[in-house]
Structure formats: C-alpha cells, structure tokens
Amino acid sequence: MIEVEGLTKRYGAFTAVRGLSFTVRPGEVLGLVGPNGAGKTSTLRCLAGIIPASEGSVRIAGNDLAVDPVAAKRALAFFPDEPRLFDYLTVRQHLAFVARIYGVVHYEDLARSLLAELELVEKADVLPGELSRGMKQKLVIACGLLHSPSVIFFDEPLTGLDPLGIRRMKDSIVRRARDGAAIVLSSHLLHLLEEVCTHVLILKKGDKVAVGTLAEVSTQFSNGEPNVSLEEIFIRATGGSET
C-alpha cells in the first residue's frame, strides 16, 4: 500500500511537484501521466526514496519513508527507465549481490525461477555488456523482484523494448498486481494505461489535474460526449503541450 499526503518537491525556487495526495492499494496499478516536465519522474523518485520530499509524507507498506526509510525501502522496488547495472557483475552475481543487500536468505530457488521466467538462464554467467537492452531490463526486473516487494515503481517501463518485450512487460505488471502488489508506473504511452492501469493520475506543471479510475477520469473530461478516446481526454486535461 502506498499512501501519499501533501507531497511537494522543490528544486531551489522551482516547484516540480505541489501538494500531491493519493493512495494505491494492493492489487491496484496507478498510471502517472502528464506532459514532459509535469513532475512524473520527480514524484516517482520521491516515492522510491531516491530524493527526499520537500514537504508531505509518503508511507510505503505502513512505514513512513522519512521516519523509517530502511523498513520502507525493504518493501519496495524501483525500476528506472534506463537499466542500471554493475559492469563487472554477471547476471547470477547481480542476484547474489541483491540477495545479500536485502537479506534474502534462501534466494537460490527464487533466483532460478526468476531467471527461467525471464528467459535469462542461458545468460546467467555473462556480463551486462553482452546483454541486449531488453535482457538488461529483464535482469533489472529479476533483481527488483528477488525480495518479493509489495510496492513497485516503474519509470517508463516500455522504453527501448521490442514488441514481444512490451507484451511480456505488460503481462508481468498485471501479474504482480494480481499477486497483491501496489504498483505505480509513469509513461507517455496511453495505450499502456488502458491495458494495464486500474487508476490514473494526471499531472500538469507539478499539480494534480485528475485522479481516479479510468472510467472516473473519462467522465470528468468527456463533457457528456460518448466514446471519447483516452488520447482526447489526456489532451483536454493537460492542454496537450509540454510545460
């Protein structure tokens, strides 16, 4: 469960995110959308504990991120848009490293099944430099899921993936939510929201424009017109341009 109350992030005089409040329950997938510069990445980075919020509170699985960051981080996984890996660790060594960091005592079986699920078994002993971008992304996911997080953040999860990779990523997100994870993802791709997300949060210039289920947000911006596309709703909600 993710509980956000009055989240504000400032960089000097510039406010990137202003007074954001929302909740994501287990099994829900919240899509974070908005034009470039709307504050999506800042929001995600604050939620994942990468940067401190200027104001407000974030609770991850019941733990306040500012008060008990270690307990909160133990429950979350963050997947950046670019796969960040250690150059000199093989696929298998990445998993061993992450297991020690998170204290996953009997990780071998889980690692084996994750490698099999993500089709990385044959690449278990190679370095990231020898992996394709899609495979690197899979390795990041394997590392992130090794400690069975109950809260997951994805930043642009489909960047750089081929069509098959995109389908598998969507399936993976839906499966994790079905298993009880609370998920937040940011993306520019509206079809991803339609297929994967149960809820949507639209941001513009750091402010919350709309939040709710897809149906609720559609109703809010359709002005009573039937069959208004999500793209049209997005444009009406945000003005459609970069901020």
Partner: protein
C-alpha cells in the same frame, strides 16, 4: 584541399577556445582556470634561481645530464616498445587516427588516400606543437639543462614528429603487408626479432662497459654524469644508438651552432619518415573506422563517468573474490562487488605484462650503475634504494592512491538512484562502498612497512633502535594504516557528494586548463585533509612518546602512542563516515549535476 582541411582545424580550434572562454561564466570553470593559471605561472613559467658558482654550475650540469639521460632512455624505450607492440599485436585492421566526424565527412569526399594521410599528419602537428611547448617549459624550468626554451621546444617537436611519423608508417606498412603479403607472420616475427636483438645488444654492451670501466665516483651527480658520458661515447654503443642520437640531437644541443648542426640530420631523418608514410599505399580505411569507433566509445564512457579501463580490453566475467553468503552484514556485499570490479579493471593481462616490463626495465637499467658502484666501494646501495622506494610508495599510496583506486561511491555514481533504493542507512552504504579501496591501499601500505621493517637494520649503530622497537613501530604503523587509508578515501567521495557537478566534470577526462585546475584543487584538498587528519594523531603520538619513554621505555611508549593514534583516527573516520552517509542520502543528482 589542404586549405579546406586547414579551415576545418583552425575554425574548430577557434570555436573551442570561444566555448571554453564562454563557459567560464560558471564558477566551477572560472575557479578551475584560475587555479591552473596560478600553477602554470608559479611552477612552470617562473624559472627557479640557483647559485651560479662554478661548483654549483658543475653540479647542476651533472644533474642535467642525468635527467636528460633518463628522459631520453625512458622515451626511447617507450617508443621502441610501442613500435614492437604494434608488430607483436597488430590491430585486426591497422589504421590511422581519425575522429568519427572526420571519417563521415572526409572518407566519402573526392580526395585521394595521400590527401587523407596529409590531413592526419597535419592534425597531429597541432597537438605536437602544443605538447612540444609544454614539455619545453616542464622539463627546463630549473634552467640547469642549458640552452634555451625555444631550442628545447623545437627539439621536442623533432622527437614527437619523428615518433608520430614512425608509428603511422608502421601502421600503414602493417596494413599493406596484411593485405598484400602471404608472409605477414614471417615479416612480423623478423621485425620483432630484430627489435629484441637490438635491445639485447644495447643492454649487453652497457653491462660490458660498466664491468670494464674504472671504478667511478657515484656519490655525486658530477661523477655519475661522467660515467654516462663515457658510456654514450663508447665505440659500439655510439653507432648502435645513432638513430636515437640523431632524433635527440637538437634537444641535447647547448648552443645555437650545435643546435643547427644537429638539426640537419634530424630533419633528414624526418624527411625520410615523411617519404615512407606518404608513399606507402595501404588500405587504412577500415582500420581507421574501427579505431575511431573504439575511441568514441572510450570517450562516451569517460563522459558518462565510467572509470578508465587500463589496457582498454573488454571486461570478462570472473568468479567472486570470495563466496558471498546471502546472510550477514550487507556492507560485505559491496566489498565483494568492488573487489570483483577491481580484478576486472586493474588485473587484466595487459596490465600484468606492463608491470613485468617495468620491473624488467628497472632491473636492467639499474644493473650497470649498481655493478660499477659495488666495484667502487662495496657499500650496500640496494637497501637505501629499496627503503626510499617503499617510502615513496607509502606516500603515493596515501596521497594519490585514493585518486587511482576508485571502486567506491565514485564508481557507482551512475547507479546512485539504485543504491538509494536499497534498505540501508547512508553511512552503512558508504562504509560498504569504501571497504574495497581501503583493503587495496592498506595492503600496499603494509607491504611498504614490512619491507622497511625488514631492511632497516642499523646493526647497533643507533642504540635505541632495537629489534623490539622496530617490530613495535612496524606493528603500530600497520594497525593505523587501514584507518588512514579510510580517511583519505572519504575525501574524494565527500567531494563527489558535496560538488557532484564539479566532480562529474573533472572525472570525464575532458581536456582544458579549467579541468586541470579542478583536478588540482581536488588534489590540494586531498593533501590538506590528510595533514589535518594526521596532525592531531601525530601530535598526540609525539607527546605520549616523549612523556612516557622515560618511565616505561621506548617500546611500550610507542605502544601507548599507537593506542592514542588509533582512538583519534577511529573517531575521525566515524565522523567522516557519518557525514558522508548523510550527504549521500540527500544527494539529488538530477538537481546537482548542472
């Protein structure tokens, strides 16, 4: 065509200068430039004064001879090894050095191969001219080499141009042989054998001369310089080293007449090299493209902040330094990861080969001097040299080691976002990251301490320096070593989290005076913190030893001082670590690196 190439070079140079000047509006570049300018003025441009008495002049002349000899021997050996390496391990497709943009614009352009070669030579000349002037200032700042800086600069230009032409000629010849000759391997074996024979002949003749020469006075620079002069003038060596004498002739010249005479054969040799390069018809295009891609990848990696990889070889998967259990302190996981990374980046095959070569060359180079010295007096000259080397190694380990061994937070800066999602307090993460370089630097210090402890044996001539005191001192120093290394490693990591924008710019290996200045500032900061950290511990040690030795004796007094030193160093390390961890938790790269 050459006009267009000149236009490209000069316009690029002008725009680069304009860009560099305009970015000085940012404080980090302005301060860096100011620091570098001050350094160049005080260290390079101001020629140091020294007394002009006849004895002092003779002494400085001797020092000059020794310096120049080592410089020439070092440069010649490197040049020979570089050429030998090109023949031993030629690139799959030998090529010339062009940038990716030059290849994209010039290779499809309607120009001949010869024009492209001229473009390459012309491009190299700009860098060679700049380097020549810099070297002239750098190696002649004390004035004891004689001559003047203009002659030195021209001398350097001759040396560097000849070497550049020779390397280009080698690459073109290799490319031609690979394509045209069925006996490519035989050619390579023959050339490498010739170089090896040549080196062996030089070494053997030097050793033979040292053995036969009358005992000389090596206690002074003048005596050693006399030996070197006699060695160089000995008959077989004089002819064997002729090519190098020609190349280094203008550089060695001490007057205008001598310089002019030396320039004639040097320019002739240069012209021969030019003829060789410009008239070798070889397909260098594919090799040049591969070389440009490799250089572009290295540049991109440097700009992304990755650590330089010695040897440039691709990393290989290796087993961990020790089995990593999923149970236990997570800090050990960072030690394991960073040691693994070190093995891949530092201990590659090329690095091991280079180390063996350095040891071999040092032992060969020192042999004649040691032989002649031992024949002269029979005194032990090895021990002081080894002790001095160990002392230098220890100082370099403490001051420069943290800049070289950087498998810590600095290396993981690109992964900072991921590290910050780990369920660890900042200080624990920082502690884990600093463990691996601390281990490496500590081992280096321990080696120095061990060797010194074994070798320094006054044999009773210093009454208080008993074996017990020596062992106690060595153990105390060894126990303080890890904490000193740890504190020293906190400094560059602290600079990184405090000024990530500065740090990122300086680690990118980008050129320019401002980058040099930034690195200089970081180096001074490292030195200052080292002194500040060591001062309280050092003062406490001196006071305790002074006060306690009268009561309990020297050995126990050193032990007491060691306890105090360790307490102070642990305290300093803990405060530094706590601060570093806190800063890392607050670090926001997206906001700070601008």
């Amino acid at each position: 065509m050459i006009g267009a190439l000149l236009y490209l070079r000069l316009t690029s140079l002008r725009n680069l200068v304009v860009y560099r000047v305009s970015r000085m509006r940012q404080p980090k570049y302005l301060v860096g430039t100011a620091a570098a300018a001050a350094y160049f003025y005080f260290v390079l441009l101001r020629r140091s004064a020294f007394p002009r008495t006849p004895s002092a002049t003779a002494l400085f002349s001797g020092v000059g001879t020794i310096t120049m000899t080592f410089l020439c021997v070092g440069f010649s050996t490197l040049a020979l090894l570089r050429v030998a390496y090109a023949w031993i391990s030629p690139a799959e497709k030998p090529g010339l050095r062009f940038s990716e943009a030059e290849i994209a614009f010039l290779f499809p352009a309607p120009v001949t191969r010869k024009t492209l070669i001229h473009f390459r030579l012309l491009s190299a000349q700009l860098a060679i001219l700049f380097t020549s002037v810099l070297m002239a200032f750098l190696f002649n700042r004390f004035g004891y080499l004689g001559g003047n800086r203009a002659m030195r600069a021209v001398g350097w230009w001759v040396i560097l141009s000849t070497f550049d032409l020779h390397l280009n000629g080698t690459n073109l010849t290799l490319a031609r042989l690979r394509e045209k000759s069925s006996a490519f391997v035989a050619w390579r074996v023959a050339v490498v054998a010739a170089i090896a024979l040549y080196l062996a002949a030089v070494v053997w003749l030097t050793a033979a001369f040292a053995k036969a020469a009358p005992p000389g006075d090596f206690s002074s620079a003048i005596g050693a310089s006399g030996f070197i002069h006699a060695l160089m003038d000995s008959s077989p060596l004089r002819w064997l080293l002729l090519p190098f004498r020609i190349v280094f002739g203008p550089y060695f010249a001490s007057g205008f007449r001598e310089f002019g005479m030396a320039m004639i054969p040097a320019l002739l040799l240069l012209a021969l090299h030019y003829y060789w390069v410009s008239n070798t018809e070889a397909p260098f295009e594919e090799g040049s493209i591969a070389l440009a891609e490799k250089r572009a990848a290295a540049k991109a990696a440097a700009l992304a902040g990755e650590s330089p990889k010695i040897g440039g070889s691709r990393p290989r998967a290796r087993s961990g330094p020790f089995p990593l259990s999923p149970k236990g302190p997570p800090e050990i996981a960072f030690l394991w990861k960073n040691l693994l990374s070190m093995r891949s980046s530092l201990l590659n095959r090329r690095m091991v080969l280079i180390s063996i070569w350095v040891v071999f060359c040092l032992s060969i180079g020192l042999r004649p001097l040691l032989m002649a010295r031992s024949r002269g007096g029979g005194a032990d000259v090895v021990s002081p040299i080894v002790v001095m080397f160990c002392a230098m190694l220890a100082v370099y380990t403490l001051l420069l080691g943290p800049q070289v061994v950087r498998q810590d937070l600095r290396n993981d800066l690109p992964n900072a976002d991921i590290l910050k999602t780990y369920p660890l307090e900042g200080w624990r993460l920082a502690f884990g990251e600093l463990l691996a370089p601390t281990v490496i630097l500590t081992l280096s210090l321990w080696l120095s301490i061990l060797v010194c402890a074994v070798i320094i044996d006054p044999g009773g001539s210093i009454g208080w320096l008993t074996p017990g005191v020596r062992v106690t001192t060595a153990l105390c120093m060894a126990s303080a070593a890890p904490f000193l290394c740890f504190i020293q490693l906190i400094v560059p990591n602290a600079i990184m989290v405090l000024l990530p924008g500065w740090y990122q710019a300086s680690r990118s290996r980008a050129g320019g005076i401002e980058m040099f200045g930034q690195r200089l500032i970081f180096g001074v900061a490292q030195l200052l913190v080292a002194l500040l950290a060591a001062a309280p511990a050092g003062c406490a040690a001196v006071l305790i030893i002074f006060a306690a030795q009268w009561v309990v004796g020297a050995g126990p007094a050193i032990g007491l001082a060691c306890a105090a030193v360790l307490t102070i160093l642990v305290g300093e390390a803990a405060v530094g670590l706590w601060w570093l961890g806190g800063r890392f938790e607050k670090l926001d790269l997206s906001a700070d690196i601008r």
